[in-house]
């Protein structure tokens, strides 16, 4: 376990998440892609913190990332429910058509 390997794993997670976020049609699946990306960010920050400068402020940043993740999920679910209620759709493509 070195800083290089941790970052390598983190970038793998981030890339898989990016693929999901770009390619999936269903809102919830897009959110899962985003979650995976955030997992990569968490791991990268954790690794950088531990291997480069393990003082407490770095951990606070991680905590903020975690909080941001919950906010993203909660709002995402709420918007997905709203969309579903309004239009019966769960697809990003159809949501895009709404403003046309």
């Amino acid at each position: 376990m070195t800083v290089e390997t941790v970052l390598l794993v983190a970038s793998a997670l981030l890339s898989i998440g990016l693929y999901g976020a770009l390619s999936q049609q269903v809102v919830v699946m897009v959110m899962m892609g985003l979650e995976l990306m955030i997992a990569g960010v968490l791991l990268a920050l954790g690794g950088l913190w531990w291997f480069l400068s393990p003082d407490p402020s770095g951990q606070v940043l991680l905590l903020v990332v975690l909080a941001a993740m919950t906010v993203e999920m909660a709002t995402g679910f709420a918007i997905a429910t709203l969309l579903h209620r309004r239009t019966g759709t769960d697809m990003t493509d159809m949501a895009a058509e709404l403003h046309e």
Binding site: T81, H84, R85, G88
Partner: protein, 325 residues
């Protein structure tokens, strides 16, 4: 050693008790006999050792009984007592069958494991014509298992939910014999229901009539409700109540009232039981009233409501005599 384990394992078999049309008295006696022996009824066919159908099934339900029978994992035993007096010997027979190693082995070898699958396949073939087109995912109409997928419909909260057709009965434990209630579910809430009654092959006469029996019907319903609430202790008390033991009756009644007050029991169910046990015989319930009663309720409430009203249902009364006799 093996023999001792088998004896231990079959000391108190779990019996899945189903009431056939008109089989009310045999079923009630079966439950009382189970209590006497300290056996517990099985809550579902999956965990049951034995299937007991109380009363005589009409021919069209025979195939459904076979599907139910195929759901018992085995070792398994099956019986259909038709008279109150034959219940104890039937239960002895079930246990003997479970202990018969050679017989159980033969049963396991001869089993067709996919009876339920075949049944669903033929059933979904019938449903195919009624399937209407769905816009976007035509290819997803059918799951690989051959199941029909649910269609969406707005639920009571205005959110689109899957609407699922889910039949309750006619072969279900703690359920009035012969009643088939086909519900349409949103999640677990019943939005629509259709009632069908299956007639007994020949009318069965109640073993006794008169006021004593009226009360027995009420106590039987109370016992079923308590059992559905998971309170087997009080259910046993309710089943043991004869009109001659008012103290026990009072205890059960107080318990029921408390459950109603605490909201463990739907108020309607609690009230009708209270009326039947404490005051007078409540009015009979027509099929339309039954549908009205269950719609908007969740699946659990539906079971409790039907159980509480069982002695008052028109079809039950027609098949096996009533509280009004």
């Amino acid at each position: 050693m093996r023999g001792r384990v088998v004896t231990l394992a079959t000391a108190r078999p779990r019996v899945y008790v189903v009431e056939a049309p008109g089989g009310r008295y045999v079923r009630a006696e079966t439950h009382r006999e189970l209590d006497r022996r300290g056996w517990q009824p099985a809550p579902s066919p999956a965990s049951a050792d034995a299937l007991l159908i109380a009363g005589t099934l009409p021919d069209p339900l025979r195939a459904a009984a076979d599907v139910l029978w195929s759901q018992l994992p085995g070792p398994r035993a099956r019986a259909e007592p038709t008279a109150v007096s034959s219940v104890p010997s039937t239960l002895d027979g079930l246990r003997a069958c479970l202990r018969d190693r050679a017989g159980q082995l033969a049963d396991r070898r001869g089993r067709e494991l996919d009876e339920a699958t075949r049944w669903v396949r033929s059933d979904s073939a019938r449903h195919d014509e009624t399937d209407h087109d769905d816009m976007d995912h035509d290819d997803m109409e059918m799951a690989p298992g051959g199941l029909v997928l649910a269609q969406g419909a707005p639920d009571r909260d205005g959110l689109e939910m899957d609407a699922l057709r889910h039949p309750l009965g006619p072969l279900l434990d703690r359920w009035p014999g012969g009643l088939e209630l086909v519900t349409t579910l949103h999640g677990d809430v019943v939005v629509e229901a259709e009632v069908t009654w299956w007639e007994p092959p020949h009318p069965t006469a109640p073993p006794q009539t008169g006021r004593a029996d009226d009360l027995a019907g009420g106590w039987d319903a109370a016992a079923t409700v308590l059992s559905l609430l998971g309170d087997e202790r009080q259910a046993r008390l309710a089943r043991s109540v004869a009109p001659s033991s008012p103290e026990v009756g009072d205890r059960v009644l107080r318990r029921l009232d408390r459950l109603t007050r605490r909201g463990a029991l739907p108020r309607t169910a609690g009230e009708v039981l209270h009326t039947a046990l404490a005051d007078s015989v409540p009015a009979l319930i027509s099929d339309d009233e039954l549908v009205e009663l269950v719609s908007g309720r969740d699946l659990g409430d539906v079971r409790l409501l039907v159980a509480a009203h069982a002695p008052l249902l028109q079809g039950v009364v027609d098949a096996s005599g009533s509280l009004d006799d």
